[in-house]
Symmetry: D2
């Protein structure tokens, strides 16, 4: 049985983690940590120090804020508690520095994306890229997303470009008709990226690879933050047998 504490347990992500841990047979929710969470059905502490003083736990899951996460993780690692971090905003240098403070072989695991399907999509795109002369990315998001392309789409396009050692010769932006600028999408390291913004989507992405007489398409559709949970649980289960700093869920997915 893995004993888990959740920092940021009153937030949207944190409260979903609490539910997921409670629903798992091999985990026990020991406590939450959140200055805004009081009247819950489980013990909630205002600070990481109070939690560490009062409770024993094997893993700290942190979905808090950029300002708070480093302190939480530092305190936990010093006490030998493994950390699973989804809070963004920490530089790789800060992550390395934090990991170096760990005692008892505690592991610091950070993932920019906990959605198993999205992580696999990225890994598969990298693996396929060398074998297909052409690749394009189409991402679909709700209308509240006010930047295009998405961060995942940019990362995917970059990964494709780095994985293949050639430049696609497909017709480019020079073939766009007058008045139709943008038809061929945004070029990210030479990979066209198209962004659809529409009601009816949450977060979807399609990577299309083309070769002689064939296409290979990898698509991920995500509908709510529940989609993060299998990845978070995988992280919790995996950190105990690890040490040092690990970045990226793909390290626990065998690909």
């Amino acid at each position: 049985m893995i004993n888990v504490a959740v920092a940021g347990c009153a937030g949207r992500m944190g409260s979903t983690v609490v539910s997921a841990v409670n629903a798992s047979d091999d985990m026990t929710l020991v406590c939450g940590i959140d200055p805004h969470g009081t009247d819950e059905s489980y013990p909630v502490y205002e600070s990481i120090e109070a939690a560490l003083e009062n409770k024993d736990f094997d893993v700290l899951v942190d979905f808090t804020q950029p300002k708070v996460v480093a302190h939480n993780v530092s305190e936990a690692l010093k006490q030998g508690v493994n950390c699973v971090v989804g809070t963004t905003g920490l530089s790789i240098e800060t992550l390395e520095d934090l990991a170096s403070q760990a005692t008892d072989d505690a592991c610091l695991f950070f993932a920019p994306n906990f959605t198993t399907g999205a992580v696999l999509m990225m890994q598969f795109a990298k693996a396929a890229a060398p074998f297909f002369p052409e690749a394009e990315v189409i991402e679909y998001h709700h209308c509240n997303k006010l930047d295009a392309p998405s961060g995942t789409a940019i990362s995917t396009a970059r990964a494709i470009a780095e994985s293949r050692d050639f430049v696609s010769t497909a017709p480019g932006k020079e073939t766009e008709l007058e008045g139709a600028d943008g038809a061929r999408g945004a070029l990210v390291k030479g990979v066209p990226v198209h962004s659809v913004r529409s009601m009816g989507f949450v977060a979807s992405q399609e990577v299309i690879f083309g070769s002689y007489g064939q296409t290979l398409t990898i698509r991920h559709d995500s509908w709510d933050r529940e989609s993060y949970m299998p990845g978070v649980l995988l992280g919790i289960r995996s950190v105990e047998s690890q040490r040092g700093l690990i970045v990226g869920l793909e390290n626990f997915m065998g690909c």
Copy 2:
């Protein structure tokens, strides 16, 4: 039994029409018309005049050249022969003028697109547009297509814009990140159009409609010029009961 003559029978489209007519139980191929077609298994004449003089036919199918088509059609209509025209390049004025020369209630039928699925996609897009706040078009073509977007995609986007009486409020090109111009596609009358160019495609198009918690997607994939044939045969079968000028296969598709 409908007696059919095919002008341009030595060309790519014309020869496919010849095969399709031969394979149809309710049609007879009477002759071809083509200065370049001689050693065929059916009579081929060098000119429309020679064909009309030597043979009786109910319908002339014309897949020739912009320079030749008007003369062929004019001669046929004057003799009361119905015409099914796929050759592009005739203005609507020229078509009307030609139709006015018809005798015996002969019909002049012209279609810019004979692919049944593509025509339905367009009609369905028009019908759906008023009910969905957002609509985007993605078209996929082979790498030899050196203009983007495709003509069909432009027509579809225009038809959507005309069919709905509102302007979509989805995030536009102003949300494109720096250096990522084109992510939101080309705006055609306010409808984003995205063009994919890749090996592995011939001609495909997807129209995506979005509303509260739902999307409706209409997709057409076309793999070879055979896809034109059901539409050509439908035209041949339909013209006899029609008269005057008819433009567009949708007139024979009940939608």
Copy 3:
């Protein structure tokens, strides 16, 4: 301004209708009717009689129970109030009988499905069927759906079969390998229907039409009950200019 009352306002569908009406510029929520709804921000009556006695409204929306709906609708129509009914379980005979009780040209509108995209999918499938030798239906639902195929898939397959006057000659169940019964799906009036059951879906359906060198695909994805609301609002806006019994949202969608 259309004055609206919502019967079943404390239920899942009814409360969503309340929100949608409140969010519409051209409608006013006059009251709710629900024995289980008391502490709301709008007047709620226990019965249709109480509501009709105390409030004036143009349209009654009913998302209640099979046992209650007939009484509600009968009382409303007798008072000349138009009805928009989403509650299932009324036979066509009962609906006709109810409609005959209407005074002042009140209209009774019932729709088995208020999702605009699903209704269009069905209409488009009917329109396309005669032009494609083959058609198959694939539906995707969550794992809580314990019957296969879905009602919508069965209706779609039947509509396709009725719309075309031929039987598909595609390879059938006789081509299923030993031990692989079911590969070719369930035959509904000769149309193969395939049911996917998986986490990650709510309610999706794809209709695939095939012909020479082309396919036409119509797909609808629905993610929550919000997807019903545009159809309910369309019904509310449309009933006032109608009379008698109208069944099916397609009557208000011009297709």
Copy 4:
């Protein structure tokens, strides 16, 4: 420069290999081997013995017949010529026996499928399976395919079942409505497989994985035998640095 001989050069696959080799900058077509191929633009021998006697080549590509392939490969390997074999019908024992006859570290490479995208689809399906509670396979083929499901679909389903150590709990065939047998597809090792047969397809397959609030879809579309060629060329380029028996293109694709 790699010197290549093609056995079965007059056949459909073999002649496509000849074209692909001729179009490659790093290969030279030295000769063909085929009793039915005479009037070609390159030397063609009637037997492997004649070819080996008259020409030097590094790699023999064999797309012949089950009866002929073993003899061809045996002769070539004994002379130290690497073999790339696409002809089916050889058991693993026969392949091992042939490989043991090789001299000079010659390599025997056999692939049941040379389509890069199909091979990747299979590998990706294996990699994803452990992370998704549900998986289903849908395959789409032309109407001339008279067995269902396809061999690739069966292999994919088996690979998924072996890769995950759990049984899906999605609703099964017991939820099929009366008269709708087959809706949930064919169960292959517990994985539902659905077969679509329709004009407009050549060979396509989709693998759909479902988890909490997300789906991951891997789709491969193949339109002609050209799609085999990148895989054949990859095999030709890879065998020289290998020895012994290698089965499966995935061994040369880094996944």
